[in-house]
């Protein structure tokens, strides 16, 4: 099953490689990983998307907790949560495709953030499924390049991951 794991980690050089090294050393699956400092710059927050049986997910959270730099770990998938990912897409925008791409962007509530004679850069945020749907809706011949941030997650309601 797919799990979204969030963690707070000391903002120190090498902290990221401790986490990624753990996943490769123990053969855990890693779908995406995002990391950036929090409002308290001494800490970073990381969102990890992984998949595995309940036993493997239990081991992953335990092994993450065991890393000395890791301050807190939570499995967001255990309760209601929100996931968002950022997608930037560069598409061809000439002739009929120019209008077509604009229409698709509107339908998905995406924003065109760069325009040239021949191309658009489109920005879209949403969950994984929405981003996938958007890419599927674009004629592959028009896709120049795509870049995705990987998922960020946060719990709904009062539940929070903080010190």
């Amino acid at each position: 099953m797919r799990h979204v794991i969030s963690l707070l980690i000391e903002n120190e050089s090498g902290a990221l490689s401790r986490v990624s090294g753990l996943f490769s050393a123990r053969g855990y699956n890693i779908e995406s990983l995002t990391v950036a400092p929090t409002e308290d710059e001494s800490m970073s927050r990381m969102t990890l998307v992984t998949a595995g049986s309940d036993e493997i997910i239990e081991q992953i959270t335990k092994q993450l907790n065991k890393l000395i730099d890791v301050i807190k770990v939570t499995d967001l998938s255990e309760a209601a949560h929100i996931e968002r990912e950022l997608l930037l897409v560069k598409v061809r925008a000439t002739g009929a495709a120019r209008e077509e791409m604009k229409r698709i962007a509107d339908i998905f509530r995406a924003r065109i953030i760069d325009v040239t004679d021949a191309s658009y850069v489109i920005e879209l945020t949403g969950n994984q499924a929405k981003l996938n749907a958007f890419i599927a809706a674009v004629d592959p011949a028009l896709l120049i390049e795509t870049v995705r941030s990987g998922a960020c997650g946060i719990a709904r309601g009062e539940r929070a991951l903080k010190l």
Binding site: I9, S13, Q59, K62, I68
Partner: protein
């Protein structure tokens, strides 16, 4: 007081009451060595290879419970140390390994003797640090010692660039250290303790399976009290030997691949298994599915939550320090009525029947020296009180099976990583820690040659270690597997062109003895431990080449599917 980084390191080691540093100098640690030279509190032991420095520090740590300290230079010094670090990591030995690093301005420039030590060691340390500023040095070392010794112990590497060791700053050693990201649980959850006690008192076939955690947390006495109260049999893992007295009636020996028949049968058929500071590894429980097929309730005590439910499902997990949790269990049991001794009577009758198989019996020979016989004689001659440092292979298992350890911290071996070459440096570390003690290194001709250069260190420091080489001119454990599972094709497992170990020992200034007849075994050992009490004696026992380690649970098989020696003959 303003000090250089090198002086700060020395002051920190003094604050941590470090007696010995095992090390090897080099360019990046010249300032550290200069500072070492100018003081008398900390003794530096010059080894002959950095791997041995770390193993010796590890042997010191295992035989005392204190943090062992090793000091190596950058680049090859650090990479040579990696095997030692990984060995300590697997067996949770508390170490601080200080490595030199090229100056900060050179880091990343592919400088001479530069290696990313923090990167290389990351997967096999409890934690590691690169100290970029001299003002961080004291606090980093404080953290390193705290991390190494607390919680589940382990090795911590502190990488110190050369310019940091030269730079100066005001020295203050922190008295306390608090880390928001590191707070090991010490006491067990009271609710879980209650459930565990209920289960244990209700069990008709209780069994205690105790590992290295008992030794690490100094819980041998508490374990003995608990075993008596519960009238439960006890098995000690390879890492746990000495955690329960081997001479006690309730002791069943070691479980696992080369465990005793009675220990494995009891592990399998008990109705309540109390696992203490052990981790159900593949060498202990064999085939996981086979093990899980028998219904039994499992209580698992461990300070590392990640060790619990890693390989087997656990009914009552208890996270905490073994000693604290055992005290909690004892407190709870002692408060209630005495357990009924009749409840385990049938269980003990069954165990005695299993014991009656005498699975460790072997065929004595008047012609060929049996390795088991050597270990039994070693036990007799040393009154069972020696510190035994073993290497890795057949001799290791024979030592574990036939040297009956009654006390903790007398059995030093590489259980997890299985590192050949640890024996002699472990013995060195133990002998430094216990100058008056009888220290034996049980080894094979394969293992001893992996760190044989340390005979030179032993000479320099006059270490009176007794090396008992069980020489069968084979990499015996490999040969045993090839005999049993690879059609007797002995690929790469023979040892040709061996040195004359007697002359070799003598050339280093030690005493060498060769023993070729069973009748000479005891005499040679007595000579070594009495006549040459204060010298290193290297005894080359020419043993039966074909002897195998039994019982044996073949790889992939279940605990009850042991091969016993009688079946093999």
């Amino acid at each position: 007081m303003v000090l250089t980084g090198a002086e700060i390191l020395i002051r920190c080691l003094q604050e941590e009451k470090v007696d010995y540093v095992f090390g090897y100098p080099g360019g990046a640690v010249l300032y550290l060595y200069d500072a070492l030279f100018q003081q008398d509190d900390i003794r530096h032991v010059l080894v002959r290879h950095e791997q041995a420095a770390v193993h010796a520090a590890d042997g010191f740590a295992r035989s005392t419970g204190k943090v062992g300290v090793a000091l190596v230079t950058s680049g090859p010094g650090a990479t040579n140390a990696v095997t030692g670090i990984a060995t300590a990591y697997y067996d949770s030995a508390p170490l601080v390994v200080i490595s030199g690093q090229v100056a900060t301005a050179f880091i990343g420039q592919d400088a001479f003797q530069e290696v990313d030590t923090v990167g290389v060691t990351r997967p096999c340390v409890k934690h590691n640090f690169l100290v970029r500023e001299v003002r961080e040095l004291a606090a980093t070392l404080k953290k390193a010692f705290y991390l190494a010794a607390s919680g589940r112990p382990g090795p911590v590497v502190v990488d110190i660039p050369k310019d940091v060791s030269m730079a100066q700053c005001e020295f203050a050693y922190p008295k306390e250290i608090a880390m928001r990201s590191y707070n090991p649980v010490v006491r067990g959850h009271q609710g879980q303790i209650k459930r565990a006690v209920q289960l244990l008192l209700g069990a008709r076939r209780p069994m205690i399976y105790a590992g290295g955690g008992v030794i690490l947390s100094e819980a041998a006495e508490a374990l003995a009290r608990l075993a008596r109260l519960l009238d439960a049999p006890v098995a000690n893992t390879l890492m746990g030997l000495g955690g329960y007295p081997a001479s006690d009636r309730q002791f069943l020996g070691m479980p696992g691949m080369h465990g005793t028949f009675e220990a494995n049968m009891a592990m399998h058929y008990c109705d309540a298994l109390l696992a203490i500071g052990a981790r159900f590894d593949d060498r202990v429980i064999g085939n996981v599915d086979h093990f899980a097929a028998e219904a039994r309730k499992i209580i698992h005590i461990d300070i590392d939550p990640a060790s619990i439910a890693k390989r087997v499902k656990v009914d009552i997990p208890i996270v905490g320090n073994v000693l604290d949790v055992l005290e909690q269990l004892l407190h709870q049991i002692e408060a209630g009525p005495r357990p009924d001794p009749a409840r385990t009577a049938e269980w003990w009758r069954q165990i005695e029947e299993w014991r009656g198989r005498k699975c460790l019996d072997y065929k004595f020979s008047n012609e060929l020296i049996k390795p088991q016989f050597v270990i039994q004689k070693l036990w007799e001659v040393t009154n069972g009180e020696a510190i035994v440092a073993s290497d890795v292979g057949q001799h290791q298992l024979w030592a574990a099976q036939y040297y009956r350890f009654d006390k903790p911290r007398r059995w030093l071996n590489s259980g997890g990583l299985g590192t050949m070459g640890v024996g002699l440096p472990y013995a060195m570390g133990a002998q430094f820690a216990h100058p008056g003690a009888a220290v034996a290194c049980v080894t094979g001709e394969g293992s001893i040659q992996m760190n044989i250069q340390e005979l030179s260190t032993c000479r320099q420091f006059r270490l009176p270690i007794k090396i008992c080489l069980l020489n069968n001119r084979y990499l015996g454990m490999v040969r045993q597997w090839q005999q049993m599972f690879h059609g007797q094709r002995y690929s790469g497992s023979y040892m040709d062109s061996l040195p004359d170990f007697v002359k070799l020992a003598e050339s280093y200034g030690h005493v060498g003895i060769r023993v070729e007849k069973p009748g000479d075994v005891e005499g040679a050992l007595r000579e070594a431990f009495t006549t040459h009490k204060n010298e290193l004696v290297f005894i080359d026992f020419q043993i039966d080449r074909s002897e195998n380690v039994y019982p044996m649970v073949p790889g992939g098989k279940g605990l009850t599917e042991m091969i016993l020696p009688a079946e093999e003959l």
